[in-house]
Amino acid sequence: MADLPWTEKYRPKSLDEIKGQNKAISEIREWMRSVRAGKVSKALLLVGPPGSGKTSAAYAIAYELGYDPVEVNASDLRDRTHLKYVVESAKAVSLLTLSRRLIVLDEVDALPSEGGALVSLVKELITKEGVPVVMTANNPYERHLYEIRSLSKVVRFYRLRWTTVLSVLKEICRKEGVKVPDNILRQIAVNSQGDLRAAINDLESLVKGSHKLSEVIGKKFGKRDVEADVFKVLTAVFYGENCYSAYLTSLNTDVDPDMLFRWVEENLPYVYKGRALSKAYDYLSYADIVRSRIIKTNNWKLLVYYTQLTTYAVCTAKEAKPQGVKMKFPEIIRKLATTKELRTKTREFLSRLAKELHLPTKTVRMEIVPILIADGKREGRIIKRLERDLGLREEDIREILEDLEENYKLEIRG
């Protein structure tokens, strides 16, 4: 047991243990009810990004139904006689465990040349034999899955939030009895971009002493002691009485001025309140203008004012002695980093549409995106059309729309 990789060791056994996919799980339970009632009319197709819980769900379904999972892979599909054997044995009750069987087909989107065999297998199992089939795919819009989609109930898994990933990592650390600093766990969670499997792998190799540790930390903090330096400066600025020495502290460290600025900005409202907060923010606002002038005029002599405003001036703004709080990593840097890839995709998509529609991108955002979101919830006709006309992948379009939708908060009626 001890030698199992953590991704297996901590794989959820039941559906309830799968984190952050409540909607998908309730849809799966609905499908399971029809299986239990002996009315299997559709296969189950679990779609979503890597490490979001699809395969775990497939096995958890078998576990909860009390069926034996039988995995069918690409080579099985290629061998006709073997395939026949699979079907035959799937029909029968296992002699060993007296359980019925459930067929699991992992990553069917990766089997383009086995599309035909896949379709006939699913048809045979579902419609003729009533054997439940569960498939997983990253991208369900591959051409060879066209017919599979119509034979299946499609359940969508979403990219996990980094907070969800973090909570799982913490749980694993607790169970393993290892101590990893919070900020490093957070870093792993953020870096995983919602891929829990990747995050657990990172954590395992970090704890088991491979070289990943320095890599993981290096990505954000540069040198290991930089963060200690940041805390020293922040403490001097927020709590120190001598503001000149707070400024000097900042000069004696290796902290990047922009990074320091964001640290100060992030933590300011936790320490200062009311008038002091507004006054300090006014200094930061001015520091930001100085920063812009440095960029525009390439006049690096101004940098000293930037640093002074960020440290010395902010230090002077406090009124009463502020209360002590724990310093937080700048949220804005994290947010920008996590969503950068998606934001680039979104921007490209919107400007592409803008060009085709002869519109400014802001109009596309305001007027066209709501149409696409509403369309995606119904037949998805427009999106399919876009896939064809613009040569974009439906999967990508849907991912972008899902992201945008969180903000529009559309509800579909009727």
Partner: protein, 328 residues
């Protein structure tokens, strides 16, 4: 491109198909006959047909889709990164002779009034440099924001808001063809909300019909609300109640996830605050002075979110001294 998007599907392709803006169209048809035209400046509010007219004019002059594609370029001044990228794109497009038997190439520069005066002067020089092979159609909301030297080099055409009746007619025609179920009040609501912006009206119709089985007034108002995220109000109220950190989180959400620019946020914020019935007038006056300063700093500064967060801190302070009012 036969899009499923109605604004594109029902866009008039030729000048003859354009039913509104008669005076403008009549003058433009003269250019088509003579196969010659000066630079043009189209001024008017959004959704009144400036882009469509420019496309239709080019279509009629060139006579075929192929020639149109080869000789017509569209740029949006607010989407491009400054006058330098605009200059490069224009240069690349205009340096070669027109393709086929056509009198000139056409460059349509939309939202020209978003360029600063300096950039417009640069634009004027670019226009002169390529006038042997190229005609410009500049579009703007306000011709007063276009510098004199450019205006004097262009024939200026004014596009008025589309009359309510014409908007209604067009909506009914599309609803008919697309088999959209609607109520009388639903269509009236779209006409009312769109304020003479035909494009917005058609987009509203399509959004509403994609969202509900029947387009009624309730759906329309809900759809129309999308352009003005509730979050802006939520953010202001949180700040006025002294909840700075919550307000700053909402701000970041608006800017990062929703993609609003700092300018958009402050514009919306100003509108909400000025129109509020519950914020006392003396506090509004203080806010006007302050917001104008923030607006300026947003342009001057490096990070819009910092400038706006500084503004939220000020809102917290002002809210406190006025007993924590909310927007309504």
């Amino acid at each position: 491109m036969a899009f499923e998007l109605w604004i594109e599907k029902y866009r008039p392709r030729t000048l003859d198909d354009i039913v509104d803006q008669e005076d403008v169209i009549r003058a433009l048809k003269g250019f088509v006959e003579k196969r010659s035209m000066p630079h043009l400046l189209f001024a008017g509010p959004a959704g009144t047909g400036k882009t469509t007219t420019a496309l239709a004019l080019a279509h009629d002059i060139y006579g075929s889709e192929e020639l149109l594609r080869a000789n017509y370029m569209e740029l949006n001044a607010s989407d491009e990164r400054g006058i330098d990228t605009i200059r490069t794109k224009i240069k690349d497009f205009a340096k070669t002779a027109p393709f086929g038997d056509v009198p000139f190439k056409i460059i349509h520069l939309d939202e020209a009034d978003s360029l600063t005066a300096d950039a417009q002067h640069a634009l004027r020089r670019i226009m002169e440099m390529y006038s042997a092979t190229t005609r410009f159609i500049l579009a703007c909301n306000y011709s007063s924001k276009i510098i004199e030297p450019i205006q004097s080099r262009c024939a200026v055409f004014r596009f008025g808001p589309i009359p309510e009746e014409a908007v209604r007619e067009r909506l009914l025609m599309i609803a008919e063809k697309e088999g959209v179920k609607y109520t009388e009040e639903g269509i009236s609501a779209i006409v009312y909300v769109a304020e003479g912006d035909l494009r917005r009206a058609i987009n509203l119709l399509q959004t509403a019909s994609a969202m509900a089985d029947e387009v009624d007034a309730k759906v329309v108002y809900r759809v129309a609300g999308l352009a003005h995220p509730e979050e802006v109000r939520g953010m202001i109220n949180a700040a006025l109640k002294g909840r700075f950190i919550a307000a700053r989180d909402m701000l970041r959400n608006l800017m990062i996830n929703y993609g609003m620019s700092a300018q958009d946020v402050i514009k919306q914020l100003n509108r909400e605050i000025i129109a509020s019935k519950s914020i006392p007038d003396n506090m509004k006056a203080q806010l006007m002075v302050f917001l104008s300063e923030v607006d300026f700093r947003v342009t001057e500064g490096a990070h819009g979110d910092v400038q706006l967060a500084a503004m939220l801190a000020k809102l917290v302070e002002l809210g406190e001294s006025h007993g924590g009012p909310s927007l309504d």
